[in-house]
Structure formats: C-alpha cells, structure tokens
Assembly symmetry: C2
Homo-oligomer: 428 residues x 2
C-alpha cells in the first residue's frame, strides 16, 4: 500500500529528464505569425547594413574638397542642384561647387563624400537659385553611414533557438524573412486526474474542488513554447486512467498528468506507468512542494506525473517540463535562470528538503531581493497569481534569516544555459 520512495536530488532529476531531450522539426511560418516562436535556423544578413553609403540625417551631400578652406571669415557657397528624398536616387553627378539636398536614409549621390546637416548651414535663395553657406571644413566620410558598417552580407545576425520577440521581428523584416524558419512546437497532452475535480463552471459540492491545474498547466505549456492539447479530466479509476493515458501517448510528444502520483490508494499513475512498460526516471525528489513529482519514459516520450496540489504542480512543471520543452525548441538557455539575492524574511523552521517558495523579485539599490509570498497559509491561493520567481531554501538543519543570500529562480527571464544546481546552504 504505502511504498517507500527514495528521494533523488533536484539536479539529478533534471539531468534524467534532459537525457531524453530531443529537438523538434522545422516549419516555415509567415512573419506576422512568428511572434513567440523559436528560430530553427540562424538568421543571416541577405545584404550589408547599411545596404549602401547613405546619409544618416537631413542635410546636404557635398564634395568635402569644396569645403576644405571654409571658415566663418571665409565661407564657401555651394549651389543646391537637386533635392532627394529617402527612397529616391540622385540623378546628378556633382561638379565642383555643387551640393544635393538629402533626407535621412538617402543613398549618397555620385561624387559626394560628406553630409552637412541643416543646422550647420545657412540657406540662401538668389535669382531662383538655391545656395548654401558653409563656414567650416568637412572631411571625406563626415556624417556618412558607410555600406556594411553595421553588418556584412552573410553575417549571422541572430542565432537559432532565439525566441522571436519584437526586436527579432525587426531584424527578420530587415533581412527579407517574410517566411521564418521556426521549430515545430512539441505537442504536450494534459489529463487532470481525480474524482474530486469539478468543471470550472460547476457549483462547488461537498468534498470537491474545481479543476484549476489543467488550465494553469495549459498556460504554462504555452509560455514555455509548447502546444497544449487538453484531453479532459479523469475519475480515479485504474482501467479508465490506464486506457486514457495509453491512447493519449500516441497523439503527443509528451504527456502531463496532474494528480495521482502520491501514496494514496487512488494514486494510480505509478502503476499505470508500470503497466505501460514505461521506464521510471524517478518518483521522489528531495524538494517541497512537488516531492512526489514522477517522470517516466516510453519510446522516447516523457510522461510527467505532476502533483495534484496546485503549488506543487506549478513548481514541478517549471523545474522539469519547461527545460525539456525549451530544449526541443533549440533554446540555448532552456533552464530556469538562478540569481543570487537577499531574503526579506526569516525562515526559522529547518526542513530536510529544499523548499521552493513562490516569491516576487524586487530590486533595491542595485541589489536583487526576494519577497516570499507563498509562506503563509493565507497566501497560498494568491501566491500562484503573483509569483515571478521561486526562492530556493536549501534543506538542512538550520533555518534562514532575513538578509541571508539565497538562490532565486527567475520565472520570467529568458533562462539559462546552466542546469539548476542543488541549492546549498550559505550565510551572508
């Protein structure tokens, strides 16, 4: 009935999960649909930047040698022979004593090698001819953006695995990627298990709770970059659950269940994994919440058995499922980023297991601080809503004090290339 389980280290659990990591296939999507996807290939420049010598400002393109002797006492007057807007190309080849009025971004007219900004000239109209007065010399190249000075043709400008943000979209557009090579999202199935689960729309009944984990996990999968497929909820019935899990596994790249992994009589997932012939990676981790998080593997597909407790479910997903999804998407930073920071409150009670406390990150005079919000019972519900980090309080024989340094796992940053290490006790 009650089976003793051997807890493994957090880092070991992550390593076992990641030993089954894979990379997804590639597909091309419209630029307008690419936001939030992950690049499957390096992005290269299809042209130099700037693509041609151009004016970086509004002014006059000139031949620098014409200005060589210009000074306040000895101004030089140049005749303005043309006005060229950005996107247009000058038709003139400049002769000595001439200038072309150019706008920001204009390709440099033939024979010109410097730009004089409007603010440094005086414009004079005489006999329907336009002149500019220049009172200082300019050197060849002054205020000219040279072809390729930012990027050479063929340069890698963004590496594969990058998440497609607003800024990445700008770069993709610049280099003509109207179709973008992205990694196909891993399809992650979800089953919520437990006879106690009601639909969200149902009124509360004695002994029952509403199914919140499934919707939370759907959202976590999307945030991680996966494609969630929700199969529904399952009553605590072994055969029903076994069949559902077996059938679902054919349709997904990985399957997440919530609930049914503890030591209760109706916690069937461990037995289901066994009957499936799946290889158990672990069924106990030295952490709280989520110590019963259970992961198994069958034919290269992972079965994540997350706890039915909402906080444990949340933490289990972020620590184990998220990096697996990010790796599938070729992210070079699949792991949660760990940052050192200072605790704002005491944790007087020692605990043999590392605890992850839902927290809000703040900054104070250049320092990272962590404000736990998942400590008091009265905060359990709302702490899930407001947490943007997990504070890792290492297991051990002593408690922690406000001001101590701790590891803060950042939930909202891009991530890290380094797998989480088991947090270790340290004092300021």
């Amino acid at each position: 009935m009650y089976t003793l389980r051997e807890p493994i280290k957090i880092s070991e659990a992550i390593e076992r999960v990641m030993s089954f990591s894979k990379e997804g296939g590639e597909e091309w999507v419209d630029l307008a649909e690419a936001e939030g996807r992950y690049l499957a290939r390096n992005v290269t420049a299809d042209h130099p930047v700037p693509p041609f010598d151009r004016s970086p400002l509004d002014g006059f393109a000139v031949r620098s040698e014409d200005t060589k002797l210009a000074s306040a006492d000895n101004p030089v007057f140049l005749k303005v022979v043309e006005t060229v807007g950005a996107g247009h190309v000058s038709t003139e080849t400049l002769r000595p004593g001439e200038a072309v009025r150019v706008m920001t971004g204009t390709i440099m007219p033939e024979n010109c090698d410097a730009v004089v900004m409007f603010e440094l000239t005086e414009e004079i109209e005489e006999n329907e001819l336009e002149w500019i007065k220049i009172t200082r010399p300019f050197k060849a190249g002054d205020y000219v953006s040279k072809q390729g000075e930012e990027t050479k043709e063929g340069d890698i400008v963004i590496n594969k695995g990058a998440c497609i943000t607003s800024g990445v979209i700008a770069v993709l557009a610049t280099f003509g990627y109207d179709k973008v090579p992205v990694t196909k999202r891993p399809v992650i199935g979800i089953y919520a298990t437990g006879t106690e689960l009601l639909e969200v729309s149902e009124p509360l009944q004695p002994g029952k709770i509403r199914n919140s984990n499934a919707y939370m996990v759907i959202s976590q999968i999307r945030q991680a970059g996966g494609e969630p497929v929700y199969f529904g909820k399952l009553k605590d019935d072994f055969n029903l659950c076994y069949q559902a899990v077996e059938e679902a596994l054919d349709k997904v790249d990985a399957l997440i269940t919530t609930g049914g992994v503890s030591v209760g009589d109706f916690d069937f997932l461990p037995e289901i994994y066994k009957k499936l012939g799946a290889q158990l990676l672990f069924n106990k981790i030295a952490m709280r919440p989520g110590s019963v998080t259970t992961v198994a593997e069958k034919q290269g597909k992972l079965l994540f058995g997350l706890s039915g407790n909402p906080s444990a479910c949340f933490v289990g997903f972020e620590l184990y499922a998220r990096p697996w999804i990010r790796k599938w998407l070729r992210s070079p930073k699949p792991y949660l980023q760990t940052v050192k920071g200072r605790l704002t409150v005491d944790f007087p009670k020692a605990n043999p297991f590392t605890r992850f406390i839902r927290s809000k990150v703040a900054f104070e005079k250049g320092r990272v601080i962590a404000e736990p919000i998942g400590m008091d019972k009265s905060q359990v519900v709302t702490s899930l809503a407001y947490a943007d980090a997990l504070v890792a309080v290492p297991g051990g024989t002593r408690g922690y004090e406000a001001g101590d340094d701790v590891d803060i796992l950042m939930l909202m940053t891009e991530g890290s290339s380094m797998p989480l290490r088991d947090p270790e006790k340290q004092r300021k």
Copy 2:
C-alpha cells in the same frame, strides 16, 4: 524649412501623454482565451479555501481523544471502518475506537478532528478487519486543513488590472471564473511612412530599405496588451498621407505612424497633425534616440509619431505608447520599471541629451548589471533583437565609466506604478 524645436524633458513628455489616458470597456471571455489579457474587475473568492475542513495528506482521520494516551509502550488500536477518496464524502459517523482511511483533499468525516499520516501508523489485518496502531497522541486539529484558513468567501484574491498569467488562471479556475471579465484591448492603428520602404518579401533596391518598423511595432503593441491594426505603408506624399491618417483615426483608439517626424522635406506628420486640427503635445524630447518623437491629440485620441529609425522607433514606443496602453488596461503598473544597476563599459563621450542604450540585464553576486549591446555601430541591428532593457545615460558634461551606477529600464518585467523620472547624473 528647418524649424527649431524646443526639446522637453522625458518625464514631461510622459506626463503629457498620460494626461490623455483612458480606461477601456469590459468584456467577458472564456477562461481558455484569457491568457495575456488584463482583468477588468477584482477577482473574489466564491467560496472559502479550503472549502471545508479537509485532510492535507494521505492518512487516517481519527478522533483525537482516542489517541490521548497513545505511546510506544501503550499503543492504541483503532478500527478502520471506511476508505474515502478525494471527491467522495464519508458516510460514517465515527464512534470511539474507529478511524477512516482518507486521501489527500478528502473532506473530514463527521466526528473526526485529526489526521494521522500513513507513515506514523502501522496497519494490521485481523479476521478481515483492518486496524491501525498509533503510538503517540494527536491534538484536535492536527494535520487538518481548516475551512477558510487560506481565503474567506468574498475576499478579493486578485486585483483588477492584473495581467492574466498561468498563476492567475489557476486562481480564476479555483473560484469558478469560466468566463473572465477583461478590459477590451485598445485598437492601435499603424502606418509606416516613407517612399524608401519595401515590402519584406521584395528584393532590395538601390536607395530603399525593407519595412521592418511596422512588424516590430505590431509585436510591441501586442506585448503591451493592445490590438494592432496594420493599415500598410505610405509614400511620402502629403495628400495621400493626410487622407490616410484622417480616415484611420476613425477606426482606432490611437494611431501610430513610423517615420515622417524629423526635419526633412518629406517629414509630413507635423503638418498633417496641424491640418487635422490635432493638439500637439510635443515634437522634441531631450533624449536619444527618438528625440523627434512627436505626439498629438485629436478628440481624445492620440497620434504617436514615432521615428523611422528602428532603434528610435522602438524606444519611442516603449517610453510613451506602452504606458498609455497599459493604463487603458487598468494596470496599476503602467510604466517601465527602473532599476539601479552597474555599467559594464565606459561611455567616455558626453552628450547633452539622455541616451537610451539597448542592453541586456545580467546579475552578478546579487547585483544588477547592464551590458550595453547597442553602442557599437556593428551591433545596431542585432541589439534590437537581444535587448531586454534600456540603460539611461543621463545627458551632461561628463561621460560615464564602467562601474558607475545607472538607471536600467526593464523591458520584460511587469512594470512600475511610478512614472520614469529624468535620469540624473550620479557616480558610485
């Protein structure tokens, strides 16, 4: 032709924009569609949490008084009269000497007031009857989660204006919000102006560049929480642009244009705002890039004239359009969050205007550091892709050195309730 513009402070520009802030209307969406939206109302608990006294673990519900004298030398034996799974309700009313096997989450059976976890009991089967052996006393309330100890019915559990994250979704589901009250997204129109603009799919031509700003801004609007409507790109033709802007304004809550706000001959936006009868809020800000960012207002609708330069366009959006959108969504933290951090490189050159350098935030031994990536010309293109912050280098007569403290504007965090102050010079 060249008109002198009076630069105003950044904080003043933000204040002028925000003086025209509005809050959007409300709509109800399915929980499954609510991710990333903003709550239009406070979320309240429709039931206490826990909804009933319940067992937080797998074990045996007992009458504590039966265990009063239990010890290793004097064990107490209780008869297990029923097994109750989560979601089920016990049918028994316990008599002295009896216990009920309960699973995590089970409602406490009548007459029971403590839970003994599996690990602290020994189970004994005798004559097809099941007994448990208890070797220590338990107090009333031991290992019982009391009704309402986390949340009382009617409590506000999430405040309006919160962005709907995975954790918020869990809370919404818990309290039966299968439909969620969210703020309608502001509809933000976009026109990219400039004869030099090519479609992303077009091959490059002399003097032309691809239209990257529009796609970037569409994504920025989405990230801010708005609904982008892209109207296309416009050639530098006054009448064409005027008509397009006038017609677009009827269809949107705010209109963003890119390009056409500088002092070039074809920078028509200022004249268009004038002809529209729009009130000019400002046309020059003491900042780089983006000093020509121009904002006008007509009948309560804002016209954001962003620069055509990609970096300036990006910064102009984040500083001025984003907080306006977030305020519309009732966010209590509409402004970019400013964090003090340490520079990693020198900025030897002084500049009269505050400069915003696209940067990557990192953390080192609990300290925030900013690694500028938008300084060198060779990084201009990719800096947009990788920036997750803007370092504010205050204008002034001196440069900056590595190790100096600067303001870091965080692009990826939730935001701040405090408007940006004008960065001021400071040394470590």
